[in-house]
Subunit: 284 residues, 6 copies
């Protein structure tokens, strides 16, 4: 991890801990003897791609810089039910204070990674890549993108500042596709690729004529995608095609076979459920 | 909303916007004429309890303090498919910059509220209350608790600092239930209610003897809950009973009928899916 | 100390240092050779319960992470006049930069602890506990509560968010005691104890009928407290009684003997004077 | 008030409110109807110089930007017992949330101003000025200096960065008075006045020979101060003399008459007690 | 200005003011009567492209939200010597507190804009664009980029995160140009353009074979640039060429005529001098 | 370096890095193998007084706390062309991420130090000191003052809060020089020196009569300065004289010989150009 990501992770974990701890864990303060030491271990309750071990360790290290995690699996690894994924030893009050957040992170991120893997497997053998969307959980984009990459997905632009995608709502206020792409080319063209959402053949041709690099087909049926991909490839051998909108585990392969280079799947962050994982503490 | 919640909401929204905007929306900067005005409207794609309209408005007002939302439904209201929930008029670049975050919040929070309502309806007619857990999304606890209350659920303690719950992991390091409750009583008893997780009759009696106010039955079968509730009521007419662990829409009513006062449901925040909602922009 | 308190202490000390140092100690910068090393020692000028040594050490460690304090007394210990409480060795400019703040903290906190001890001794042998109030110095509540606990006092709720006390001003706007307690019961009763200020028998009965857990007698004469305590105990064997208002070293025992469980004393933080302590520096 | 002080006051008040409110006032949230309006008034319980009205108003305005204070006395004014100092109308929950902090500030700052005035009156008719010290309450220096100026005192340097005072502890590590003053002159002399603590005639002569501008007599008896002042005035007509150390209301005039230009009084911030002031709320 | 830039500008101005004001302007506090009103006006001392008026206004508005600037020229306009560029009326202490920072910003930014314009004019009639570099003043990149755009320059990537440029130092650790470009293509190719520094024909061919979009010629003589541009255009009709390194007003046109699409000029931010501008205050 | 300066430097470097890195260095992330180690060295491209090595080291240490700089020259040392000033070994991505900022700081600060030295040498043999002004680069005052001291200059007041200078704009709103100085004396005189800008003999006499300590001659011709200095010295043997305004390397000695004690030179921070320095990276 580099300085930017490390700094962001540390500051997120600290803020999540403050959310849960407020003025401090009054239960532990009342009933645990100071300096009591304990052991804790994370155990999987189902099969999953594990994700978030680095974040979970950061939870404990933020509370006590000496308390590392001994991991028996790596982020991105597929594990079976009943596996001891990691263990840690430290002050009992630190384990109890960090337990819930560490689990919340592990359960959610593993859920995202596991679901991503299912999509990636569904398109195996096709040239299509599964990519993420900006439909992430507010505040968790960095971590969710990480989980998606662990599951075999690719990361699209991080936010509105590091990639140009002209969507239908932009076109509506910019006065048409041709005009929107032309302006983007003028202002940004030497430095940035331009992606444009098109919904039919006319729009596709307009976009490519103005020099669009990437086409986005949103909410189009597979047959229409297939037809438009052929037309696009004829126009420009280098054009990249992305599909999005209501992509499910059932239909994702069909879109891949229709010729999409990238398939962006909102479900990765909108429908992943928390994996079954527990944390067991005992005296050290 | 009071000062504390307002301040927290404002600072969260600003931080979520920074996550998505980074150094700014380069697409809009390139293709939208400065000062172009536009209209946007949120439309439901399915039936739901809507939640997050105040947060969505805060998104736009953070970007431009003049841009309010005109809502046609209130947070907590049940709406049908195809309903225009709210609309707003403002600068086109503000609408485009806030669109994704506003939707991300509305879709998720409405999902939580809608799922909560299903649980609440499932126990209707029983004295049991559906309550939330600390298994919330890191960083979103305040908003998710709000969505749960809109769905008819009740809010349990916010975090580790405003309520005492002695769980199995605490007991493991504190040296037994009796000892844990006694210490908590001594240190906090005049000011705080003491809740204790118990898993059998012996533990239940120990807890009540030491003056526990509330009992938590986690992961116990319904019949066992029913038996233990009867014993508890005999011991203390005022004791409160909470159930938790693998509560589903299928089994929740059974737990309620077994005599629980509170049923805490992790699924409210761990398994809610994003509701189908869209935002449509056109020139003003 | 746990993470929450450590973080809060560190950030307070740093902010207090910035208050005193501004852009830096221009006297030391001008006249002390870089890297000059020196020794300093804290000496008591009167008998006291010492409090704040951990905070004083944090002052020096914030300025120079290597500079620890060697303490010859522990926080909470009673010391005589002329005692060397602690000493430290480090860079001369660090000692000179931290001296004033370390003393300001030690003198004030020791003053609070010493005064608390006098109150605690005054009620020795009665079941009453001396407790703190929210009449603390703005910004110093955490440290003053700590000093009070060192002096043998107990800590009441930290702030408005971790305990329910319905005072006369609340009753005035809530429409009467019965109504206020009933609402509090409904909203918070399963999770929180309810404390209510009552000033006569009628109010006491109203409060207990609605299920108040704790009664607060503020500014009542001892005889009236005594009478009301008896009535309260008849109504509910578990009710807790707190007295407050113009409690002095002269009258505190009378209130304790009148049956109060808790006596909250504003003077602990409002009238404590700074203890006589000095810091002497010489070349190392 | 200028931008610097305004910003500092606002940020302090907000931080003090967060200290008291934490996650919010659960009592008001439970029992006060939303949007209930109420009136509150501050009433004096004893004679005092009032100080802190601007700060008290900032408390309420921070909670609700519309809620101003109508003051019937000005900061610095002497008021009698039973006087209604100020009143305010607003939301009941805002009044209840701000009440304690507003009182804590008013009571303490009025205490400082009132005590200062007693010292100022004690030296009336002499050329001496009562000045403050760095023995202020950590975090409250700006407000306490303000209260001291309201009581008729003068403000000495704010912190270590805006004035040079070479005290005994500096001399101990700098290698003597002559050397310390010479270095300070060299480094800072064109821009800053140099003040030096001296304890006898030899040190006084050394200091003046090296060009000290101001002499500090700490913990010297009045007769010695008197003798040294005469010697100093002979050496330099422009020299300024400050006295400090165990200054009391009883001995302050003697020091003034001994010829001090400034008498710095630690008691102003170390021994002031909170004034008797109350806040009464009723429905609007 | 959008929310991101507004927020960044506001927070920069506030931080610059704190740098200059520290604990407040002691001169004004001592000698200016409170509420004295005054007028100030900015007057040019030489011919320039003015830049920074919005920033200068933000200086005064940060100090006093009511104090706007009445501008008689727009950012980016060319003005003559002796021109009153803007005037403002407000509190005298606000004018005196903001004067220096407002001038520091206007003088520097106008210097950058004016120098940029000279470079832009030097290449007039050629297809080359003058672009900025990351050799900006630490902390001022946003403002300097803005000044450069006012002078007619174009903005290259903001920082390391929004554009890929593989320079010689990257190649040295990545194991050759071919390998570096190939990896970049794989990881980022669908979303980002790849720019590569090449210093001879072999490197140029390697880069283009691996799919580089843009070539950077750094520190190459004009004739070599000319030759390489021809080779590059043969290979790929769409390739973009950037030149950099020791570009001066004397040689910039030659590089433009050699076929560069972009010429990045470090001098714009490294050698611009402050323009001659003054601020004159009088009583209002 | 003391705590205040260390803290300020660290927080500046971190903020400068965030400016350049945004969400991270996408080029390195794509093409550099994780954990690749490399060596870098700074080489001078011209003769200069080097300044900023401590800041450059802080750049790398902020990115990776283990990565120190091995310096072959000290800040303030004069070095020749082609000198290896410092080298460092660490992770390749850290070197590439810090390179630009480290250079930007070194080049600019060395430029300021080098130019300062030229001014200092120009007045060698006279009693005049070259001093800095508040015409520094916004945000960089601390670092630029440091560079100026390395070049042999002296530091004037840091900002508006640690020194009193009454300039023409102050006089214009304060109602005349006599009145301005008198007020300043009254309010601040015991603690602060008073400097006053005067432009002729009448103003000079007014200022000295009211007790000004220092006179500022701004934009006056050398002969006039010479004449006024003589008059001032007659009035007060202790008066200090500062000159400012359009001081150049050509005329600075004349001002020094005219009798100025301090000559403040805006050009030090307004006209210094970046020195020629490069950073070369290779595999370790």
């Amino acid at each position: 991890m580099n300085w930017v990501d490390e700094g962001a992770l540390y500051s997120q974990i600290a803020s999540f801990l403050r959310e849960d701890l407020g003025r401090g864990d009054i239960t532990s303060q009342a009933i645990i003897e100071r300096n009591t030491r304990a052991r804790g271990r994370f155990v999987s309750g189902e099969k999953m791609i594990v994700a978030g071990l680095e974040a979970a360790e950061e939870v404990f290290m933020t509370l006590d810089s000496e308390q590392q995690l001994e991991a028996f699996a790596a982020d991105g690894e597929e594990i079976e039910t009943g596996k001891v994924i990691a263990r840690t030893t430290g002050f009992a009050d630190v384990l109890l204070a960090g337990e819930r957040l560490a689990l919340n992170l592990l359960q959610r991120l593993s859920g995202v990674a596991t679901l991503t893997q299912q999509y990636v497997r569904a398109v195996e053998g096709t040239p299509a890549h599964i990519v993420d969307t900006r439909k992430s959980t507010p505040g968790l984009r960095m971590l969710e993108r990480y989980a998606i990459s662990l599951g075999g997905g690719r990361n699209h632009r991080f936010g509105l500042d590091d990639g140009v995608i002209i969507k239908a709502n932009h076109v509506a206020v910019a006065g048409g596709i041709a005009q929107a792409v032309r302006k983007a080319r003028e202002k940004l063209g030497q430095l940035q690729k331009i992606e444009v959402q098109v919904s039919n053949e006319r729009e596709l041709r307009e976009a490519l004529e103005q020099g669009a690099d990437t086409l986005l087909f949103a909410d189009l049926p597979v047959v229409e995608v297939s037809r438009l991909v052929d037309i696009a490839r004829e126009q420009s051998s280098k054009v990249i095609v992305e599909c999005s909108g209501d992509i499910t585990l059932e239909n994702v392969r069909a879109y891949a076979e229709a010729g999409a280079d990238m398939i962006s799947v909102a479900a990765l962050t909108q429908s992943a459920r928390a994996m079954n994982l527990s944390f067991q503490i005992q005296l050290a």
